[in-house]
């Protein structure tokens, strides 16, 4: 044991390397799963090695039950959650990490100041108290922010942006209070001038950090939650890195910093994919799942054309090239297997079938890919927007299933539209358009879609799974 303990830091070193390999693996489609498992293995090694440390080994009666409880919660949560609720799940796990980082910071603070006698709080330099305070504040914000994000996505809290007058002032006040309390602790640590007992101040910092996390996320609408979760993920990484500084553990510094840095980049990439700036996400008003512009345009006298499943089957049967456009509704209806069946049938007739995947179709990046992969749709038939957008003009039928905003031509033309500027799929250029959805109701952005009023468009109403099933039956009947 004694000798083995000497190697614990080197096990941590190896674990750090696996985290980098893991992260690199996760950024490529073929290596992603391997990468995740490599990092998990490194993590397991690190945890096992940690049991060699005296204070951990001695506290097994406390630690093992805690780990057992955490494992059960984690596994059950991760296994039970439906695919559509993945973002929430990530949020809650992220919040747990942030909370742990904040608690570690508190414990380390108490540990360091406990033995303090005489002037100051007993810290050796300025580095440790700063790291502890940053870890506490960032971890706290991440914890409460993630919980709010979870609540909004899960429908426990109203998903709309929560706004009130004087909001900015309040939010800023919380932030300023938190910083002030932290500075007071720092002053006590460095010069020994205590305004209030350090413990009281520490609790104040923690409470204000939690409040700040809430204040930060409440005004953001549910639509932007994936971006917010990614940002909070980066925060937790930073908090973990700070915890690493305060307890002098390099593995924590490496892992936390890696996530902090890559998470920041990822957040930027995600907001770019949704055609928003990060500032806009955090402080903008788009998330309001609005009713503002909804219903305004249908009144110009134009009307839509409804089609039956039989009409749709005939149109598809005579086509040479069909492009399927999946959207959130397909996910809700779990229609992926029916869609696959339809595609197989059409391909059996020699019709070319491709899928056009918009980067933000659904409710999380990659949502459509995940769904269609579940139904074993071959990877080569999924095309990114850039790859396929020019081909719509040559397609005989564009079959839109539960997608709305990502096909809305208003994004191109209507400068007043909240989605103006977002690149969309050129569905309107196809020869014929069939739209499957339950009603004329708007989608996520809460705005009408003039595509549905296009004379080329036929509306096939119904739940996506059921409606596609009807089309499948008609196609089978015909041939």
């Amino acid at each position: 044991m004694e000798q083995l303990r000497e190697y614990v830091p080197w096990v941590y070193f190896v674990a750090s390397v696996t985290f980098i390999f893991g992260l690199k693996g996760l950024s490529g489609p073929t290596t992603a799963q391997l990468g995740n498992r490599v990092a998990a293995t490194g993590m397991l090694l690190a945890v096992i090695a940690t049991f060699l440390e005296t204070q951990v080994a001695e506290a097994w009666l406390l630690i093992l039950p805690a780990m057992a409880i955490g494992t059960v919660i984690g596994v059950v949560g991760a296994r039970q959650v439906p695919m559509t609720a993945m973002p929430q799940m990530v949020a809650i796990f992220n919040g747990a990490g942030g909370g742990a980082a904040a608690l570690v910071s508190i414990l380390e603070f108490e540990h360091a100041t406990h033995a303090a006698t005489g002037q100051g709080l007993g810290f050796a330099g300025v580095g440790e108290p700063i790291a502890i305070l940053l870890g506490l504040m960032i971890g706290g914000v991440s914890f409460s922010g993630s919980i709010i994000a979870f609540g909004k996505l899960q429908g426990l809290i109203d998903a709309r942006a929560f706004k009130y007058t004087g909001q900015q002032v309040v939010t800023f006040g919380i932030f300023a209070g938190m910083i002030a309390a932290a500075l007071a602790i720092l002053a006590a640590a460095l010069t020994g001038t205590e305004i209030a007992p350090a413990n009281v101040l520490l609790v104040l910092v923690a409470v204000l950090a939690l409040a700040f996390g809430v204040a930060l996320v409440m005004p953001i609408g549910g639509a932007d939650m994936p971006v917010v979760i990614s940002l909070l993920n980066a925060y937790t990484g930073l908090a973990v890195a700070m915890a690493g500084f305060s307890i002098g553990n390099q593995m924590l510094i490496v892992a936390g910093t890696l996530v902090g840095a890559s998470g920041t980049i990822l957040t930027r990439l995600m907001s770019k994919a949704m055609n928003r700036s990060l500032g806009n996400v955090l402080f903008g008003a788009f998330g309001a799942a609005g009713t503002a512009t909804a219903g305004a345009k249908t009144d110009d006298g134009r009307t839509f054309r409804e089609v039956s499943a039989e009409d749709a089957a005939i149109l598809l049967g005579y086509a040479q090239s069909v492009i399927i456009v999946p959207g959130y509704g397909l996910a809700v209806a779990q229609a992926q297997h029916s869609v696959r069946e339809l595609a197989d049938l059409l391909e059996g007739k020699g019709i070319e079938v491709r899928y056009a995947i918009h980067p933000v179709a659904g409710r999380m990046p990659g949502h459509m890919n995940v769904l269609l992969a579940e139904a074993n749709v071959p990877y080569e038939k999924l095309f990114d927007m850039e790859q396929i957008n020019d081909d719509f003009a040559r397609a005989d039928v564009a079959l839109v299933i539960g997608a709305n905003d990502v096909t809305n031509p208003a994004a191109r033309k209507d400068t007043a539209s909240p989605i103006y500027g977002m690149p969309i799929l050129n569905v309107d250029q196809a020869q014929n358009i069939i739209v499957i959805k339950r009603s004329m109701k708007p989608g996520f952005a809460g705005i009408d879609n003039e595509l549905y009023l296009d004379p080329k468009t036929g509306m096939l109403f119904g739940d996506a799974k059921e409606a596609v099933g009807r089309v499948v039956a008609e196609v089978k009947k015909a041939g």
Binding site: A46, V47, N94, L252
Partner: protein, 103 residues
Amino acid sequence: MSTELLLGAYIFMLAIWVGNEVISKVPTTLHTPLMSGANAIHGIIVVGAMLVATALPGPLGTVLGFLAVVLGTINVVGGFVVTDRMLQMFKARPRAAKPAEKK
């Protein structure tokens, strides 16, 4: 200005670069799994929680230490399992893929 702080700063700075560079060209499809995988990686805070779990004596300290370990474990276990599950979706599963290919 201790040596350990300096060396920590080097590690921090280099890890920022690695984090930035390693994922700079991830396809959109992988944004969610990558976020989730990164989320699992910062679950390593569980090791920090284990190390300081008993740092503060007394019942409050024990409760906080216990909680820290529980939360850290949720992060790491849940994070890896949910990521693995997401990524599983990207692979055609042999069972189901076989009959489809026969057509």
